[in-house]
Symmetry: C2
Subunit: 196 residues, 2 copies
């Protein structure tokens, strides 16, 4: 156990944080992106498999490569964001398990079943995307996550020949409050949870 974090930090992570649609001119340094990854990598994954892969697009050239894959509603905010991260998974994540999980032959659990490997990669890279969004907020960044894009186009443009598969996109920067929309409703405990 550890001491609970304080209410200001809970606000930064959960309670007052908001998805951003407009961005200030403040840039995001590569050093900040490395700090972000160094937090995300600490989050737990199944058999320590760490299937998520991250492409941080922060050049105009990179953004233009991404543009044709974006849905209309996500275009402006993504093209203007200081950084857009592609969160992907490596479909051959299990090749690293002899190092990442050395005390068992974990690789063989996945090489025998493509469906199990894909479900594990999808589940755990999405879990890591959750860590990513909260780690970004922890560093004072604002985020805007999106699944409204053409994954095949992203895969063709960025990942040809690599076996990486796009899962979702996350814009990163410092938000302009003018672009924030009204908070949408949340399910109550009784709608989403049970005690047993």
């Amino acid at each position: 156990m550890a001491d609970p974090i304080d209410s200001a930090a809970l606000d930064t992570l959960f309670n007052t944080a908001r998805t951003q649609n407009k961005w200030t001119d403040r840039t995001v340094s590569d050093e900040t992106l490395r700090q972000l990854y160094d937090l995300v990598k600490m989050g737990p994954t199944s058999a320590n498999c760490q299937p998520a892969r991250f492409v941080f697009i922060r050049t105009q050239e990179g953004k233009e490569k991404l543009r044709p894959a974006l849905s209309a509603g996500n275009l402006d905010k993504t093209m203007t964001a200081p950084v857009t991260a592609i969160i992907a998974w490596d479909e051959k994540f299990y090749d690293k398990l002899p190092v990442l999980f050395p005390h068992a032959d974990a690789k063989s659990w996945f090489t025998g079943s493509a469906a199990f490997a894909e479900a594990t990669a999808f589940r755990n890279s999405s879990l890591q995307a959750g860590y990513f969004i909260l780690a970004a907020r922890a560093l004072g960044l604002d985020t805007g996550a999106m699944s409204g894009f053409d994954a095949n186009k992203v895969n063709d443009a960025f990942f040809a020949g690599t076996g990486w598969k796009a899962n979702l996109l996350v814009n990163l920067g410092y938000g302009d409050p003018a672009g924030v929309q009204g908070r949408l409703p949340r399910l109550s405990f009784d709608e989403a949870a049970d005690l047993a």
Copy 2:
């Protein structure tokens, strides 16, 4: 943007937090579980769809219902944990979209494609599982997440007739450091990330 959170809070969430395998006698109140949900629900999801559902098992009877679904390596730590949460998704999550995303006919995006609905539910409930693990740590709880269990048995035992589907399990409580294993390696930035 918000102020970054301090290094003690980063330790609680990421850097010194560890998956727990043994538990102290300290119990977890239902009030704490409600506080946990109230943080998790604030995390962003695609079209605010919030597909994750949570069953907090904290009775002996509930644990016995879960027991046959557990893999051997996860049995003892789960049966002794103060609480085990089943994180599931509701395959008909889209029925709530007229309330959760009222400004568009978002429900129709999913009723037309079972595969798109399932991928959205799986991705976003896993993302919410990431929020869940970090929100639990933020409240001072320790966690132990697992995907080593028989999901069909969990679905039959807990979710018959509901359309909820088990995604992963998370033990909650206050860990006994004696059960913590050595930290496993993490992928470096250069192995897992690219700048573009």
